[in-house]
């Protein structure tokens, strides 16, 4: 049994086990889920270590026949593989799930069986998206991964959960259905559904057709990222989702959008990506500042973090569409960083919610006195999220800003403003939660984090410090693929300039 099939479908086996155990035995259900995710985590780390970062080729390849489309006899294959662009996200998804499952001890008490079932199915869906290398298989995993979160938000969510879950489902679905037409068009155009071959051949398309296909793909992924105009579903989905749902949504699901933009936007249609790069850089940069202002005005702390996600992912898109090596590697690393820091933030807010059952900022104040350990972790996470050097956020952000500056200095400068506003809203929130006199009676005798809650956060904290101090092994993992990608972009840039016949005055600085 090859590694990738094992790691992708092991959670499904766990889900089956959960299905078979009676709903009454909650302890056993939680144990199964935890054990499964732990095994997958070990596999994920093993995969990460065995991955050779310098080669751009697909590794751990699995390639079996699946079915053949009638008439034109286009083979659709069950093809899995990992390359530099996806290895970090696969490892993160595998490593984060045990933390998420462990956190459900605190806040999921009713219908535990269904919750564990949906969590495990979601993990398979997410891993599938990152490892699928057949366009149809990718589309299958892309849409199927919507359903588990739909149920998780819908059943265990807050008051407006039905509104939030329908809105999130239909919004993402609309994007992916437009993408479906593009997927069909490109498969029948090149008579194959294999992503690597499509990536090579697609750049040979006429620019106008390439731009149309790119727009369709980019729309679906921009909704998922979420990029600026399509972000309104995120705040509702986060606020109404249960803690573990928010952690997974922020930690991994949003990255499927950015990964999609990378794989199907830039890798598949470099010409069109070049054409649209300034637009996306603009949306990213403005998204950063817009998200920051949004967060400043929030009164619900969970909604505040959701808005901060809009701002953070603005960085990722900015870095990606700078189309420079630094920008690209920074954006891939920032996908992981955002998963860690925002995941931790949601976990912490979840812990406070379990104790105070409210998320309104003015209900807190002076909690640092009664819960020092909680205060330590919250300040730590806020600093990692505000990109303090020495922690994970900084490495990604520095590379992104550097890459963006090399491409379009204007957007980089606007993004640097985001650094300031980011610090502003995060520190304002920390101050209103932790510092100041204890005004509310309940805050006086909140008991501090217990062992379970600290242990479940440790892997993410250690990862944050490790990426902060020693980012080289993580960055080296993406080296091979990124060199291939940058080389591809140069070719497309050359072709574009040749077609323009205008000697470019602005010397390109590497």
């Amino acid at each position: 049994m090859d590694q990738l099939t094992l790691i992708t479908f092991l959670p499904l086996v766990g889900a089956l086990l959960v299905l078979l155990t009676p709903a009454s035995q909650e302890k056993a259900l939680r144990a199964i889920a935890l054990v499964t995710t732990l095994v997958v985590a070990v596999l994920g780390v093993q995969l990460y270590l065995a991955f050779d970062g310098s080669s751009a080729a697909l590794q751990f390849l699995v390639d079996k026949a699946w079915f053949v489309l009638p008439g034109s006899a286009i083979p659709v294959r069950y093809k899995l593989g990992v390359d530099g662009l996806s290895i970090l996200m696969v490892a993160l998804t595998a490593v984060m799930m045990p933390t998420v499952i462990l956190s459900t001890w605190g806040h999921v008490h009713k219908r535990v069986k269904e919750f564990m079932l949906w969590m495990l199915v979601m993990q398979t869906g997410m891993l599938g998206v990152f490892v699928a290398h057949d366009l149809v298989l990718f589309y299958f995993f892309w849409e199927v991964s919507l359903i588990p979160l739909y149920f998780i938000v819908g059943i265990w969510g807050g008051e407006r959960r039905l509104y939030a879950t329908i809105k999130f489902f239909l919004y993402t679905l609309a994007g992916s259905l437009v993408m479906l037409v593009a997927v069909i068009a490109i498969i029948y155009q090149f008579r194959t559904a294999d992503i690597p071959t499509l990536c090579e051949q697609a750049s040979s398309l006429a620019l106008s057709k390439q731009v149309w296909l790119f727009a369709a793909f980019a729309l679906a992924f921009s909704i998922k990222v979420p990029l600026l105009p399509f972000h309104t579903w995120l705040a509702d989905a986060h606020t109404e989702a249960p803690t573990s749902g928010s952690v997974v949504l922020a930690g991994v699901l949003l990255k499927m959008g950015t990964y999609g933009l990378l794989r199907f936007g830039i890798d598949m249609f470099p010409g069109a990506a070049l054409e649209h790069a300034p637009l996306f850089m603009a949306l990213g940069a403005i998204g950063i500042v817009y998200g920051a202002f949004l967060a400043m005005a929030q009164t619900d702390v969970k909604r505040l973090i959701a808005c901060s996600s809009v701002s953070h992912l603005g960085y990722v898109v900015l870095g990606m569409f700078a189309l420079t090596y630094a920008g690209l590697s920074g954006s891939i690393l920032q996908m992981v960083n955002h998963g860690i820091s925002t995941g931790l933030l949601f976990l912490l807010i979840g812990m406070i919610y379990e104790r105070r059952h409210t998320r309104a900022l003015d209900q807190f104040g002076g909690i640092a006195a009664t819960m020092p350990i909680f205060a330590f972790f919250l300040v730590f996470t806020v600093l990692s999220s505000a990109a303090l050097p020495g922690l994970n956020g900084f490495v990604g952000e520095y590379l992104i800003l550097l890459g963006a500056f090399q491409a379009k200095p204007l957007w980089a400068i606007i993004a640097v403003l985001g650094v300031i506003f980011g610090a502003v809203y995060l520190l304002m929130a920390t101050r209103r939660v932790l510092f100041g006199p204890v005004t509310h009676e309940e805050n006086k005798h909140l008991e501090d984090l217990n062992a379970r809650e600290v242990v479940l956060m440790l892997p993410l904290v250690i990862l944050a410090v490790w990426i902060g101090f020693q980012p080289k092994p993580f960055l080296d993992r993406t080296q091979g693929s990124l060199e291939r990608l940058v080389q591809k972009i140069e070719v497309a840039r050359g072709a574009q300039n040749a077609s323009l016949e205008v000697p470019t005055t602005e010397e390109s600085v590497r």
């Binding site: 009638p70 008439g71 299958f140 849409e143 437009v178 069909i184």
Partner: protein, 486 residues
């Protein structure tokens, strides 16, 4: 028609072609006889199942050997019509299984008549699918429709059932009359009723095109496409749920089978017009369903939307889809998936309805997942398949329909079609939300949970389970079905 022709009628290849029809006919007659004799009363179910199984086996064997045609070419049993035939047999079997123990005591004595009527419908469908002559199609149409009119109003005690039956009858007859007058005009213009000859002669001039228009109108009525779709909600809601299942799946498939054979009649320039009609149908179907509270009526509207989707395939072919049998493949697979999904969905509603409570409203479905997890799970799978979610048959059906459009170059209709199914998910999700995410409404809390009293619902439950599994298999391992397409 001299004696040689009569003998020629029964040479071996022709016999094989007509064998399934004969098998059905014999089955119907035996069933009728069993109804007459009180002693054979218990044999009713086995006869039905035996007939359908035998016919199914015959059709399947025809599918392999591709026999010739009967009565000098008016009925052809080629691979396509055999495939459709298989679909009709399955649809009827499912509908019949769901009608098991469905009717209240008052209608129980007429169960034999009900089964006879139900058994004649596949005969009509096969004739329609294999018709190469307008007469054979007309006969098939009537052999299908008249039993359905009776079946629709089977629960005479209920005003709604009678109203549905009568409405369906009057409008059905009205459309049939259109068909007749259309084919007479075509006959007047071309002098022949044989499709191949008509195709050879070609249809020009007002008379011929007027005829085509009228024929197409009646076909569009049968597949319930805009502006001929208005009867569907009332008839589907009024008639007993198993009959609705049969109507939604069987008749639509038969009409599409014939439509694909007569696509040549439509002028190429009509591609855009057909696409627009199809899209409007999808829009009306989906938007109409959005406003419904009764699940059965909602599924009726969703049926209209699905008819619109399959019609897109016709537009695709007219606009020049490079794959010759693209339309046939798409329609066959789509209707195949739709048969299992819609029959399963209606079957579940029938299952729930039999609990004596008007169970088909959304309000009644609230919190069902707690009390009847399997029914809820199956219903969710059907809803997702109707919406076209991957891992279900519905998705690949939609995939093939859109690919025929994309291949033909009709990009924007494909995009609009795709976006309309976002609206579709709007109401499919409403069912799933009721099942899983809303608490049981107090009015229904008192209802007995678990299996109901009215005898064992085993056959219906098994049928629904099989449908659900097949829908998933069609989604995950479509190879099994795709490789067998003609």
């Amino acid at each position: 028609m001299n004696p040689q022709d009569l003998l020629q009628l029964f040479d071996d290849r022709a016999l094989a072609a007509v064998a399934p029809l004969l098998a059905l006919a014999i089955g119907i007659i035996v069933l009728l006889l069993s109804g007459v004799i009180r002693a054979f009363e218990s044999l009713r179910a086995p006869i039905v199942v035996a007939t359908l199984a035998f016919t199914g086996w015959l059709v399947a064997s025809n599918f392999a050997t591709v026999p010739g045609s009967v009565i000098d070419g008016t009925y052809i049993a080629d691979r396509a019509s055999s495939a459709w035939g298989l679909l009709f047999v399955v649809a009827t079997l499912l509908a019949w299984l769901f009608s098991h123990r469905y009717y209240a005591e008052s209608e129980r004595p007429f169960q034999v008549e009900h089964d006879v009527l139900m058994l004649t419908t596949p005969l009509g469908m096969m004739l329609m699918a294999g018709a190469a002559n307008l007469i054979v199609f007309f006969i098939g149409l009537e052999v299908l429709s008249i039993p359905l009119y009776a079946l629709a109003s089977f629960r005479r005690s209920r005003a709604r059932s009678v109203e549905a039956g009568l409405k369906y009858f009057l409008l059905g007859a009205f459309a049939a009359a259109f068909f007749l007058y259309g084919s007479s005009l075509i006959y007047a213009a071309t002098g022949s009723l044989q499709l191949a000859e008509i195709k050879a002669i070609g249809l020009h001039g007002p008379l011929a095109l007027g005829g085509v228009a009228l024929v197409m109108a009646s076909l569009f009525f049968k597949i319930s496409v805009f502006p001929f779709h208005l009867w569907v909600p009332d008839v589907y809601q009024g008639s007993p749920t198993p009959v609705t299942a049969l109507m939604a799946t069987g008749t639509k498939a038969a009409a599409f089978a014939f439509l694909i054979n007569t696509m040549f009649m439509l002028p190429k320039s009509a591609a855009l017009a057909v696409a627009v009609v199809a899209l409007v149908t999808m829009a009306l179907g989906n938007l109409g369903a959005l406003a419904q509270t009764d699940v059965k009526r909602m599924l009726a509207y969703s049926g209209i939307a699905h008819a619109g989707t399959v019609l897109l395939v016709v537009a695709g072919t007219l606009a020049g889809d490079p794959e010759s049998s693209g339309a046939l493949h798409a329609a066959l697979f789509y209707m195949g998936a739709y048969v299992f999904t819609a029959a399963g969905a209606f079957g579940l509603l029938a299952l729930l309805e039999r609990d004596g409570e008007r169970f088909t409203t959304l309000e009644a479905l609230k919190g069902l997942a707690q009390r009847r997890p399997f029914v809820a799970a199956a219903l969710t799978i059907f809803m997702l398949s109707l919406g076209g979610m991957p891992l279900t048959g519905g998705f690949l059906g939609k995939w093939m329909v859109f690919s025929s459009l994309v291949r033909a170059g009709l990009i924007w209709p494909a995009v609009v079609g795709a976006l309309l199914s976002v609206i579709a998910f709007g109401y499919y999700l409403r069912v799933v939300i009721a099942l899983y995410m809303q608490p049981v409404s107090e009015r229904d809390a008192a209802l007995p949970s678990g299996q109901t009293s009215a005898g064992s619902a085993a056959p219906a439950a098994i049928a629904a389970a099989v449908c659900a599994v097949l829908v998933l298999v069609m989604g995950t391992l479509p190879g099994l079905f795709l490789d067998r397409l003609p």
